[in-house]
């Protein structure tokens, strides 16, 4: 049986929902971060699926942009997380609720 477009989209939706749910319910900042990455990759999957479906390379190009942004975000985000951990010795985001370090 040939894989259909709808399969990819369904998988992507599932991954995205898992990501959203993780961001909402997780307290550990690293877990939240990973969930964000998960959401980004769900979107990437959608792009690639559509690019293949429409035989159009634009969607694949977009994936590269998303990956670049995600890499930069990871660098900055991990830096912030380390700084926060040094100050608070905790990775619980609910501890960081006073809008400053």
């Amino acid at each position: 049986m040939e894989p259909q477009l709808s399969w990819y989209l369904a998988l992507s939706a599932v991954l995205f929902t898992i990501g959203v749910t993780g961001v909402i319910i997780k307290r550990n900042i690293i877990s939240m971060f990973m969930c964000i990455e998960l959401m980004l990759n769900a979107v990437n999957l959608t792009f690639v699926a559509f690019a293949s479906f429409f035989q159009d390379v634009t969607g694949q190009l977009f994936v590269f942009i998303v990956m670049t942004v995600a890499a930069a975000e990871a660098a900055v985000g991990l830096g912030i997380i380390i700084a926060m951990f040094r100050n608070r010795e905790s990775l619980d985001v609910d501890d960081a609720s006073i809008l400053k370090l």
Binding site: V20, I24, I25, M32, V93, D94, S97, I98
Partner: protein, 685 residues
């Protein structure tokens, strides 16, 4: 004619002020500061005399000297340039302002010796000369107003020169605020002039782009306003003239705005001499004579000027009779003499008014400087009750004060006699143009003559109390008053030469200064030539009232009448001196009526009728209701609304990251939901 030298007259004192302010305050060398101050005014004096008397100079030609310095205001049809003009009138003014100013500067170097604010004093004094000369030499109303405000500012600064004395600060504020009321009239007068004539210039200067029709020449072709009270509100020449007179009354201390001048004596004496006797307070007279073309078209306004002038002259003279402070006597005397000048303007004798301004500048500057010399010699004592017998100690001051006394009392050959007599005669013979009837002119003359009598009496009282009689300065001071703490027992001394030389020069001028205006009726006895120099000089630039019939000047009845009146005014003057001598020689401390000594309680009445109500309205109404209630309330309401919004918005900012994430999610779901329900908008490429 263009002459760039003209700007030197006003900018030399300005430069002097700048040097003294920026350099003098660091150098703090009295000789340097004095030399800069006197030198800059000396430059002005020399240039003014040169420009006035050179071939085709201002006083010798019919056309004014013009100096267009820069284009200042040019809005629509309004042209007001920073431009100077010296014609016969402003030239005459510039001459005595610079010369008398120079003498007073020299005197002040001696008088202010040892003061800590020496540089400040002379910087302000030079700045005053700049403003005064700008006022006089301005070629349009707007620049004249700049000078007008400038002299007001310098007056404020110099009255309040003794910054550690509260009464000096209060007097300075009083002078400034009272002048504001007059300035209100002046500004409205300028605006109305522009509205009616379309110009604010005095002189046509086609080279500089000023229209040939000026604010003054406009009226030449206009009919005279009707002689009714309604003309005041008609918006024509009469309205302009009345508004301008309000300005003049403020600056020249006429009823009801005279109250600031006596208090202004809190300033140093040279300031009183320069600003509050010789020059600034006569600016109102200058302005009216400069605008004589407007006034001769406004008989109602001239009647007001004449009545106010006569009333002020008499009123101030009666107060002067009872003052014990030597400077207060002179201050009220100044107000009274200014009243004379306005009386002359009101009956159309503009030249006589200017003549009296000049002679008054000589003898009143002399009297003030003489009183300054006395105060200096008495170690800052101003109360005449503690003087007496000073002629032995201060012979030069005494001799020069004597000439001033004789001049102001109207003793013949002294300057005051000629000018005062001219005013009295012109009042007596005034046509019915600006007066309800010729009988009214006799009434005004009677007031003026009575004032002359009082003038002679109070001046005699002052001189007698100061220079004759027992020496009272060693006596114990009245209980409750501390003796002067800075000095030991008071031992009067004559002032140094730098103070006595200006006194001598002014004494000579007070003696011979009147010869520039000998009336025909008196000179005809000696020579056939009409030797009234001042009248010849000013006649072309001063407007005359239209009397209708063409009467021959100097008819024999007129000459006889004028001689009789001159004899009468001599008698009045001598009678006044006689009364003063007889009464005060024996009893110099004679108590004067309480009402006069307390100045008719005018200050108290003003305080109760105007100042208190204004204060109450300001405090209870403007401050407590309008400021606190309306303005503050409005602003506070804005603030509170913002605070309330902030209080609501704060619930969104809990600081929990997952909360934010949830909000983002909800927002995204709402958007997606909207797309799902409404569908995507169709896009057309």
């Amino acid at each position: 004619m263009e002459s760039n030298l003209l700007s030197l007259i006003i900018f030399a004192p300005l430069a002097g002020a700048a040097i003294n302010w920026f350099v003098g305050r660091r150098v703090r060398d009295e000789r340097f500061i004095g030399a800069v101050a006197c030198g800059s005014v000396a430059i002005s004096t020399i240039v003014a005399f040169y420009l006035a008397f050179k071939t085709n100079g201002a006083l010798r030609s019919e056309t004014p000297l013009l100096d267009h310095i820069w284009t200042w205001l040019q809005v629509g049809t309004l042209h007001a340039d920073f431009a100077l003009a010296m014609d016969r009138l402003s030239g005459t003014y510039a001459l005595f302002v610079t010369f008398v100013g120079f003498l007073i500067h020299v005197f002040a170097v001696g008088y202010m010796h040892g003061e800590t604010g020496f540089y400040r004093f002379f910087a302000f004094l030079n700045l005053f000369m700049f403003a005064m000369l700008t006022l006089v030499l301005a070629d349009n109303f707007v620049l004249m107003f700049v000078g007008w405000e400038g002299v007001g500012l310098c007056s404020y600064l110099l009255i309040g020169y003794y910054i550690d004395r509260k009464e000096a600060g209060d007097a300075a504020k009083k002078a400034f605020i009272t002048n504001r009321i007059g300035d209100w009239g002046f500004v409205l007068g300028i605006m109305l002039t522009f509205f009616v004539t379309g110009s604010v210039s005095f002189f046509a200067n086609p080279a500089a782009g000023t229209a040939t029709q000026t604010a003054l020449s406009f009226f030449k072709t206009q009919p005279v306003d009707p002689f009714t009270a309604g003309a005041i509100f008609a918006g024509g020449a009469t309205s302009i003239a009345v508004l301008l007179f309000i300005g003049a009354a403020g600056k020249s201390a006429q009823i009801p705005l005279y109250v600031w001048l006596p208090d202004a004596m809190a300033g140093p004496t040279p300031v009183s001499a320069l600003i509050h006797a010789a020059t600034m307070v006569t600016a109102g007279v200058y302005m009216i004579v400069r605008c004589s073309e407007i006034f001769v078209h406004a008989p109602t306004a001239m009647l007001i000027v004449a009545i106010i002038g006569a009333a002020t002259a008499l009123f101030a003279a009666t107060i002067g009779l009872a003052q014990n402070d030597i400077k207060k006597v002179l201050a009220y005397s100044t107000i009274s003499q200014l009243g004379y000048m306005f009386l002359a303007c009101g009956v159309g004798a503009f030249i006589a008014a200017i003549f009296h301004v000049i002679t008054h500048a000589f003898f009143k500057a002399l009297l003030f400087l003489g009183s300054g010399s006395v105060i200096h010699g008495m170690h800052d004592e101003q109360d005449m009750r503690r003087m007496g017998g000073l002629k032995k100690y201060m012979p030069i001051t005494f001799a020069t004060m004597l000439t001033g006394w004789l001049a102001i009392s109207g003793v013949p050959i002294f300057a005051g006699f000629f000018s005062k007599d001219e005013i009295l005669w012109r009042t007596w013979s005034a046509p019915a143009f600006s007066l309800p009837s010729t009988a009214f002119s006799k009434f005004l003359w009677a007031i003026a003559a009575l004032t002359a009598l009082l003038t002679a009496i109070y001046m005699t009282r002052m001189v007698v109390m100061t220079f004759w009689g027992a020496e009272r300065f060693r006596e114990a001071h009245p209980a409750g008053e501390k003796p002067n703490p800075h000095h030991g027992p008071v031992e009067p001394h004559e002032s140094p030469w730098i103070m006595t030389v200006p006194l001598i020069v002014l004494a000579v001028l007070s003696t011979i200064g009147g010869f520039i205006g000998i009336p025909y009726a008196l000179s005809a006895a000696f020579t056939d030539r009409n030797i009234n120099v001042i009248e010849h000089t000013l006649e072309p630039v001063v407007a005359k009232i239209e009397t209708g019939g063409s009467e021959s000047p100097h008819s024999s009845e007129e000459v006889t009448a004028e001689r009789m009146l001159a004899g009468l005014s001599v008698l009045v003057g001598l009678l006044g001196i006689g009364i003063g001598w007889y009464v005060f020689q024996k009893r110099p401390l004679l108590a004067m009526p309480r009402l006069l000594e307390d100045k008719y309680y005018v200050d108290e009445v003003y305080d109760a009728a105007l100042i208190r109500p204004i204060e109450a309205v300001s405090r209870e109404g403007l401050w407590k209701i309008f400021d606190i209630g309306v303005i503050d309330g409005f602003l506070h309401a804005i603030g509170e609304v913002v605070i309330e919004f902030g209080r609501l918005a704060r619930y969104l900012q809990a600081g929990f990251v997952r909360g934010y994430a949830a909000i983002i999610l909800i927002g995204a779901l709402i958007l997606i939901g909207l797309f799902a329900i409404l569908g995507f908008p169709t896009m057309t490429p």
